[in-house]
């Protein structure tokens, strides 16, 4: 086994065997799965019924309130005082009072409740009454319902991307946005987490004074690269375990509790249509919208438009390229200082491009083919994050190849730079290093 391989093996094993690694590797997917599962569970839990009694002095709207999943309406023919007594007897959670003058003075509408009112219920009641009042007023103004129906024109533009080869694909920018941002962010986190592990590792070797023993057996460059590659492999391992475990946990939940993941459309949407559509028509429209509008459906359609081989390949490439580029710089910083506190002055210029790329990612998302996006995805310091944000929107192979090539040149350059600082730095003790000093090391090496 070559010496570099021996070093990589130690760097890898010593980290993978650490308790913190094992804890993080297990906790990570649990957290990620929780993010996916908990909202679904909570949504189900909060499904306890909310009963609203309706006292309609105008007697116009009694049949206009349709129950939803968890909000139930009960028309009462009693007066409002009696209804409030019922509420006190716990037969209702809230009482809606529509007084005689409601139509002329909507501000007289009241929703009484003992506890703080259910916000969704209030919104629903408001929406129903608003629609009803409006159509009544339209009727008074002599506008026919049929005309009204004819006027209603739902607009849903399908975004079509024409590829260079003439193929048409439906575009789902929301999905591309989500995917791009998540993968860009993952790369950002990965570089930061494991880059600083490289820094700490180098610093540990320097402060524990083992480094001179090691460099009498291997070249400083071998030690540096061994550490960078070893830590990178730790990162990849953790990442792969995370993905597999998260997938496993979520799938298990889907099998055990399939109800959780059946996406149901928001029913409130259809209440407004009761007046103009027959029950049959409504069902039809419901189905249609369900197909298009459910989150799951849209995500599925959106995902099918993404070029996954390109996506996965470039993710791994930028993931590693970005890490190698920054890890070399982090290693150089670790070698140039004596203790962790002194790292600050050198950390800033290294972290700024990284921070910049995650901040600019939001701008890039809104205009993924603009000049800012193009430039930032070419500069090796920002390209790992920015290019990953852009790729789900579709980037030409030429651009990806150029950016990838520049990234390779970039990390070869930073590695060479870092190696020069590193081999002088690791043997320097005692005095605080300045930028001028670093420049001398680079030039004289």
């Amino acid at each position: 086994m070559s010496k570099t391989a021996t070093i990589i093996k130690r760097e890898f094993l010593s980290r993978v065997k650490k308790r913190s690694f094992i804890v993080m590797t297990i906790l990570g997917p649990l957290l990620m799965a929780a993010i996916i599962i908990v909202p679904a569970v909570v949504a189900q839990l909060s499904d306890s019924d909310y009963n609203i009694a309706i006292v309609d002095d105008t007697r116009l709207f009694y049949d206009r309130f349709d129950d939803t999943n968890n909000i139930l309406f009960t028309p009462l023919s009693t007066n409002i005082d009696r209804a409030i007594e019922f509420m006190h007897e716990d037969r209702f959670d809230a009482v809606l009072h529509i007084p005689e003058i409601a139509f002329e003075a909507p501000s007289s509408l009241r929703l009484f409740s003992e506890k703080s009112v259910n916000f969704n219920a209030k919104l629903l009641v408001e929406r129903i009454l608003q629609t009803e009042f409006e159509s009544l007023k339209l009727g008074h103004a002599g506008i026919d319902k049929e005309i009204l129906k004819a006027i209603e024109t739902p607009i849903n533009i399908q975004a079509i991307r024409i590829k260079d080869d003439g193929e048409l694909i439906t575009d789902y920018p929301e999905v591309s946005m989500g995917l791009g941002f998540v993968s860009g962010f993952l790369i950002y986190i990965f570089i930061f987490l494991f880059g600083s592990q490289v820094l700490r590792g180098v610093l540990e070797e320097k402060t524990s004074r083992i480094v001179e023993i090691i460099v009498s057996s291997v070249k400083p460059f071998q030690l540096m690269m061994g550490k960078i590659v070893g830590v990178g492999m730790v990162g990849l391992t953790q990442f792969l375990i995370w993905i597999v475990l998260t997938f496993a946990i979520v799938t298990t939940f889907q099998v055990i509790m399939p109800d959780l993941f059946r996406f149901t459309p928001d029913e409130q949407v259809f209440v407004t249509s009761t007046q103009v559509l027959s029950a049959e028509e409504m069902e039809k429209q419901k189905e249609q919208i369900q197909q298009f509008d459910t989150t799951a459906g849209q995500i599925m359609q959106g995902l099918s438009a993404i070029n996954f081989p390109v996506m996965i390949f470039s993710f791994i490439f930028y993931f590693l390229g970005g890490y190698l580029l920054y890890a070399a710089l982090f290693a150089a910083i670790g070698s140039a200082v004596d203790n962790e506190a002194d790292t600050q002055q050198f950390m800033l210029p290294v972290t700024i491009p990284l921070l910049l790329s995650i901040i600019m990612a939001q701008m890039v998302i809104s205009n993924p083919s603009g000049p800012v996006a193009l430039w930032l995805s070419m500069i090796p310091l920002t390209s790992p994050v920015i290019m990953m944000v852009r790729i789900p929107f579709g980037v030409s192979y030429e651009e990806i190849a150029l950016s990838a090539g520049l990234l390779v040149i970039g990390f070869i350059f930073t590695t060479m730079l870092a190696a020069r600082i590193y081999r002088t730095g690791i043997l320097m003790y005692g005095k605080k290093t300045s930028y001028r000093e670093l420049w001398k090391w680079i030039r004289h090496a």
């Binding site: 070797e205 524990s208 004074r209 001179e212 023993i213 291997v218 043997l427 001398k440």
Partner: protein, 310 residues
């Protein structure tokens, strides 16, 4: 003579200062060689060049009559002045790792390590973390790691700094043992007294330049001070009358009735002449030559005067 290591006209400059200028050094096979000089003289720089940690600007290093190459790191064992271990790593595992980097095979390294651990009573600590070991034990581990791959050349930079006296003796014993088994040893230290009795040859370095090199006994001969110390009693005459122009009185001191005198013999006169001069005038209680230590020789070489001459 067969030299295991030769440095020829080595020069090394750093951004701000010259660490070595035109230094040559010849280390005979199977000898103990002292590389002596004050702090900052350039010793560590020379050692790092021999270990191929840094490169020389000019000059060459020869190992076993070959130009020094990367493969030679396997034949050199180096205990640096600034030495340490991974604190969180287990002792045995770490020793295995470091010796593997020196080119030793896993099973062979393990077997040898077990033997050395047994010898240094470290076996119970094999699976402990380094930070649980006392400083003395850590130093023993470092020593084992340095010598385990049976290097032909061993380099110890300030080996005794930080060692307690018991460990210093163990270490000296082991080092003599290693030479007996064929190793060549270079000691580097600013504390010249500490290795004088061990060394066969020395080189003195001061301010980046080698100022002296050779066999210890020959150097001592060449730097004979010709200064003698005598204790005398019952002086018949004043010292100035006893000691004529052939001798220089450096110092005289009277304590409890006994006079201690320090005299330098000039020109071609001998010790017999001095004794002859003393005998008729006083009772001579003791008479000895003041041999200069390496430290004295160094000072003489740098300042031109022995510290004994006062």
């Amino acid at each position: 003579m067969e030299y295991l290591l030769r440095a020829e006209h080595v020069t090394k400059e750093y951004a701000r200062h010259r660490a070595l200028s035109n230094v040559s050094m010849h280390v005979p096979e199977q000898s103990i060689f002292g590389l002596l000089g004050p702090n900052g003289a350039g010793k560590t720089t020379l050692i790092r060049i021999i270990n191929q940690i840094i490169g020389a600007d000019e000059g060459s290093i020869w190992f076993n009559n070959e130009v020094l190459k990367p493969k030679h790191v396997h034949e050199i064992g180096y205990l640096p002045e600034e030495r340490g271990l991974y604190k969180k790593m287990k002792v045995g595992e770490q020793a295995l790792y470091l010796t593997r980097l020196k080119g030793l095979k896993g099973h062979e390294a393990r077997k040898k390590l077990k033997e050395w651990f047994e010898r240094f009573e470290l076996t119970p600590w094999w699976d402990k973390k380094v930070e649980e070991l006392s400083k003395g034990m850590q130093q023993k581990v470092q020593f084992i790691i340095t010598v385990l791959h049976n290097p032909r050349l061993l380099i110890f930079d300030e080996p005794f700094s930080g060692f307690d006296p018991i460990n210093v003796n163990i270490l000296k014993e082991e080092i003599l043992n290693l030479r007996r088994n064929g190793s060549t040893i270079i000691f580097s230290t600013h504390n010249m007294g500490s290795v004088e009795e061990l060394c066969d040859n020395i080189a003195l370095i001061n301010k980046s330049e080698k100022i002296l090199e050779g066999e210890v006994h020959q150097i001592k001969k060449a730097f004979k001070s010709m200064i003698y110390e005598a204790e005398v009693d019952q002086l018949q005459k004043p010292l100035t009358e006893i000691l004529d122009r052939r001798f220089t009185l450096i110092r005289s001191e009277k304590q409890n009735g006994i006079m201690t005198i320090r005299v330098q013999i000039n020109g071609h006169s001998t010790t017999n002449d001095l004794i002859e001069a003393l005998l008729p005038a006083a009772q001579v209680l003791s008479f000895k030559e003041l041999t200069p230590s390496m430290n004295d020789i160094f000072i003489k070489k740098v300042t031109g005067k022995f510290p004994l001459e006062k």
